[in-house]
Amino acid sequence: MLFGRKHKNPIKIVDKEVVDWKYTTCGYCSTGCSIEVGLDKTGKAVSSRGVASADVNRGKLCLKGIFEHELFYSENRGRVPLMRNQYYEDFQEAGWDQTLDRTASEIKRIQDTYGRDAFAIVSTGQIMTEEFYTLGKLARGVLGTNNYDGNTTLCMSSAVSGYKRSFGSDGPPGCYDDFEHTECLLAIGSNLPEQHPIIFWRLKQALEKRKFPVIVVDPRVTMMAQMADIHLPVTPGTDVVLLNSLAHVILDEGLQDREYIESHANGFSEYSELVKEYDPVSASRICGIDEDTIRNVARLYAKANAAMSIWTMGINQSTHGSDGVVGINNLNLITGNVGKLGGTSLSITGQCNAMGTREWSSCSGLPGYRALEHEQDRTDIANFWGIDKEFFPKKRGMFQTDIFPAIETGQIKGLWIIATNPMTSMSDTARIRKTLEKLEFLVVQDAYEDVETNEYSHVYFPAGLWAEKEGCFTNTERRVNLIRNVLPPYADSKPDLWIFNQMEKRFEQGKKITFPETAEGVFEELRQLSKGRMLDYSGMSYDKIEKQRGIQWPCTEGDETGNARLYTDGKFQHEDQKAKLIPLPFVDNNERPDDGYPFWLNSGRVVEHFHTRTRTGKLGNLNKFSPTPYMEMNPDAASELGVEHGSYARLISRRGDAVVMVQLTQRVAPNMVFIPFHFHECVNRLSLGLLDPHSRQPAYKQCSVKIEPVADQSAAAVRNLAARSF
């Protein structure tokens, strides 16, 4: 044996000399991992680690979490507030008072001139629940605009809508622990390894202990599809047909849970009538899955003692997004798989606090899953806030995807954007540019000054990010978890809560309402407002949340812990406490490939990036895995067009064009390409984003393009580089 030397040299290994670990919850996706941030003796955040005793992640983190402490020091953070008269002028640095005053006066001017609803607010899924609630209070209770929505319309509104239609309320009924109990998992349009690696790990752990069938529906051969027992490479946009057909087989063969349907669901007869039309033979011609496979999956799912479905954007971002969710709920209702161990309809959410905004932001109504349409809810909140209930509109206003067209045509004149980046994230970039430049006043509030939407703003508020603040996130299994304040906000940036509170002070109406200064003070209001409701927080406190590493609502006052599942008693939130089986007729309204535009364009997330890369694009150890936009393209299709691996190609849709690098792989079908959605000036120059009629969510994943090789590769490289400031 070779040792190299007789006397050992001492060993040097990097020691980050952490002296203090601070408890937080990850600020990227909705998995809700508990993270500790390590501070060294100078107070610098130098390390992140998963909290070993946290049930969600059990000590693990994905790569984004592993480097999350680096965010505090990432490039191009907003340092000071900025201001300018016109978007095409240069920004001037300004103080908080100056910019807040200007913003307040612009809001007043626009509302006085064009009406209250002419000023819109588009928020996010990224800030704390307490901040969402405060923003909602400001929007609904002080400014009184009904055009207030969050970017969750781009990711989760189909799930919300589907849950409401089926169960009478939003709120994912299951949890990760269901993997430990289920006998069959159906994952539709959900690519856990890439999008929710920690949830994938929980699934994998369950599978290591006890094997159960995993069925994955995805047009692309993702790693999730590859590890599945059955992969259904469905034709884009036809999930509803597949779901109807699965139900057809189940009902046709009498595999349904008759007792459950009878006791807990309405609408069976209309539903079963419609489902009759979707025999597997006819369905197979639409959805591209052969009839034997449809029958096999239906039987497997129905015969399992407990079966669960998970889904993500593959379902939600579709013109049938809400219907897709209802279709999954239908499937679980007829098989009796709601609210039981291992049997559930679990939407896997996108953003760290998409749930928080759904619960408390008042975007779609009033806080605590209350609706503007219900008089009692309006009264309760008006009384709690101390304002006149007539101040509230009686019907929900516009969704984000309707606010933008309303700006385009002049109904909305002012906009406040908080922690979201529509310049990159919304369909048809050219149209978004045209829209934003029409605004009389745009204020952008973001942790990053270089967030692309800032190009069109008049005022920029630099916000603190993640653990520069304190508050709660709710994860996709309804677990409320805590972010302790780790560091003060960068430079002169401020917590979003502080910014909302300062804004409120500048309005007469604000003086009628109490706005607690601290996040914990706001949390107290949430506890009170949730008492006795489905999303009961009243049994929680910050310390208790930290101790239990997150608590799943409902957690009623006096309860030791939260509750893992909803609807365990079979009682739903519709007035008659029954769920609804809803027939889902299918109309194919997608922009399908044709002779002119022969490829499906699919988009999605990659594990190393988050949303529009404002954070991950700056951290080398994440960004290096995909530093520049690319598309996955089938090599057979590429060779016909003369498109080469590693070269740039141009895609053209009916909206515009994009230049991307080509990665040839058989992972995608010959008539489909896939582009990660994270990059600026890329996939959304092409996408159509037809809106779902119920949820107003755009169908990002279905449109058609043509592809041509690029002769001048260096010009393409220059063009690509020009679009990459990070």
Binding site: F3, I11, I13, R58, K60, I66, F200, G620, N621, T628
Partner: protein, 613 residues
């Protein structure tokens, strides 16, 4: 330092296991006995003098990789980079992949790879500075960046791309097996971070729970016979017969026609025309192109001078007949070699540590080469002094000076080729099949003969021509060695191409690159070589003399120089190591080149070093 947490989860804790006595290569797993002098010592990590209590502390440990499970989530790489505080362009562990099949029957095999802490650590043997130690504790092969001078030789010899040369920092660093965690009873950071049940760690030849294979190889992994790596695999899921790489290496992996047997690396032929590829001819190894050529020329030139005079009695080569030319020539040779040595030193990441090159004479061909050249250089130096300035030795008897002169001359004549022998040995690298052929000898000694003799010939033919004397006889003699060198080089090239094609794999892939990316350059070089042979033959047979003939010889010399430069540059840029597959961006050579060319690399977060020279 990392401490065991109260609530540490089982997956992160090293289990106690009962391994077999011997590993699959027949080596004992117990590295030293408990009472050995090497045992029961502290690892002295960051000055901590405690001694770990792991019961398996002196057993060889290794990674376990279940390729069926890896999802390429990058958690392992990231946990490693976070722990070791690595900049984006470096990684001790990397995930690459190979893929195959046709949609939707497509499969991707991800491979996460770090250092394999080999039984036969070629890095340790190759390192001239002795920066490497294989520890009796856990069998960890650790490298000390504070000793390393950044020559990068370990990155050449390692088949797995484990040592990482940081051209910014000027040194190599690599996976340290997280011995600090092992001492605490914890598995390495990468293993503890794995999200798919793919990566594990423990005493070698022990299976983690729920796993049933202990293979030493998977598709895409280099031949384990090179280093006997301490990694074991599981790969049960059947894969398509042919797997390809997403990076630019012209390689694929294929089973035999029946879809049986192990996957073998084969050339992935691209339908590419012959190109010049001139922009790609430059590389980080440019200084070595010049260094090797000069050293070979100087050795050859001196041999021609010394042997021509001493043995064959060509008086025009003696100092008596050429009292100016010989001293100038000798000092020029010394100056050239000094320049070459400086160049090779500047090629180091940390040139001021050059003296460490002699640290590993026992194993490293680099140390031996440097020592050999140093001996040659000094012998040549002393010979030069004795020859050119005998006056400074006037105290000594004249006979003694003559004997010493002859002794040092002969010593340099012996030391030169010996040094070149070690220079050739440097390229005897199994992980670099393009080099791993006797053609290196024919090329290096060929250069010595052809360039050295031609240089000497050109100088002294010029002297003779200047005197109006004939140089035909001298050139007749020297052209024998020039031709021998050229023919040797040509014969080597022919066999090299033939053998590499036959061997297949990375070597054949290099050949493919040679014929395509550098096709025109390669052909020009061969034409240059052939023309040189013809020119020398014609010049010597025609018996031309005087300045007219001299210009012919001179032009031949220029042609030979150009041919050699191009040939040697090709030698360095064409090598394709047996490393692990990369991904589409990360560890993809063509993307890295693209990022450098277009300026993408100027953003540090792209993870590509902007300037590698």
């Amino acid at each position: 330092m990392y401490r065991f947490r109260e609530d540490e989860q089982d997956y992160a804790v090293l289990p106690d296991v009962k391994p077999p006595e011997l590993n699959q290569y027949g080596k004992p797993i117990q590295l030293v006995e408990e009472n050995d002098a090497l045992a029961k010592k502290s690892l002295n990590i960051n000055g901590d003098s405690s001694i770990g209590e792991n019961p398996n502390r002196y057993k060889q440990h290794g990674f376990y990789f279940n390729a069926d499970n890896c999802i390429s989530c990058h958690a392992c790489e990231s946990a490693c980079s976070e722990k070791n505080d690595l900049p984006a362009h470096l990684a001790f562990r990397s995930v690459g992949y190979i893929e195959g099949g046709t949609y939707p029957a497509y499969q991707r095999l991800n491979i996460s790879m770090a250092c394999n802490h080999c039984d036969d650590p070629v890095c340790l043997k190759g390192c001239p500075t002795r920066a490497y130690t294989k520890f009796a504790e856990y069998g960890a092969v650790l490298q000390d960046p504070d000793i390393c001078f950044g020559c990068g030789y370990c990155t050449w010899v390692c088949p797995y791309n484990a040592p990482q040369l940081d051209t910014n920092a000027g040194h190599v660093s690599k996976c340290n097996m997280c011995v600090d965690r092992l001492e605490q009873g914890l598995k390495p950071a990468c293993v503890s971070a794995c999200l798919a049940g793919a990566l594990d760690f423990g005493v070698i030849e022990t299976k983690p729970e729920n796993r049933d294979q202990l293979e030493v190889q998977i598709p895409g992994f280099p031949d384990p016979e090179i280093t006997h790596p301490n990694i074991r695999f599981q790969q049960n899921k059947s894969l398509p017969r042919e797997m390809t790489r997403p990076d630019s290496m012209p390689l694929r992996y294929e089973r035999d026609e029946q879809g049986q047997g192990a996957y073998k690396a084969k050339v992935r032929k691209k339908n590419k025309d012959r190109q010049w590829g001139l922009s790609k001819l430059r590389s980080r190894e440019d200084p070595l192109v010049v260094f090797t050529l000069i050293t070979q020329t100087v050795v050859g030139a001196f041999m021609a001078l010394f042997l021509g005079n001493e043995v064959l009695g060509f008086e025009s080569l003696s100092i008596e007949h050429s009292p100016i030319a010989v001293p100038v020539f000798l000092f020029t040779l010394l100056a050239l070699e000094t320049f070459a040595l400086v160049l090779s030193t500047m090629h180091l990441g940390k040139p001021h540590r050059f003296y460490r090159s002699f640290n590993n004479l026992r194993y490293s061909p680099v140390s031996r080469e440097v020592a050999g050249i140093a001996v040659f250089f000094n012998m040549l130096g002393v010979y030069t002094l004795l020859t050119v300035l005998p006056s400074i030795f006037q105290e000594m008897p004249k006979d003694l000076i003559t004997s010493l002169q002859s002794f040092f001359g002969w010593a340099a004549v012996v030391a030169g080729p010996v040094a070149l022998y070690f220079m050739c040995k440097i390229y005897h690298i199994k992980a670099r099949p393009f080099w791993n052929h006797w053609q290196v000898y024919t090329s290096f000694y060929g250069s010595m003969l052809s360039q050295g003799s031609l240089l000497t010939g050109l100088v002294f033919a010029g002297v003779l021509a200047g005197k109006g004397a004939s140089y035909i006889e001298l050139m007749q003699l020297l052209s024998v060695t020039v031709l021998a060198g050229l023919v040797l080089e040509a014969v080597g090239l022919v066999f090299h191409a033939r053998d590499l094609e036959k061997r297949g794999g990375e070597g054949a892939a290099s050949l493919h690159e040679q014929f395509t990316t550098f096709g025109k350059t390669y052909i020009s070089r061969n034409i240059g070589l052939a023309l040189s042979i013809v020119a020398v033959s014609v010049l010597v047979l025609s018996g031309v003399d005087g300045w007219g003939g001299y210009s012919g010889w001179f032009l031949t010399g220029v042609m030979l120089l150009a041919t050699s430069l191009v040939g040697r540059a090709l030698f360095y840029v064409l090598v394709i190591p047996t490393t692990m597959p990369g991904a589409f961006f990360w560890r993809n050579q063509s993307f890295q080149e693209h990022a450098r060319e277009t300026g993408l690399a100027n953003m540090q977060q792209v993870g590509v070093v902007a300037d590698i020279h």
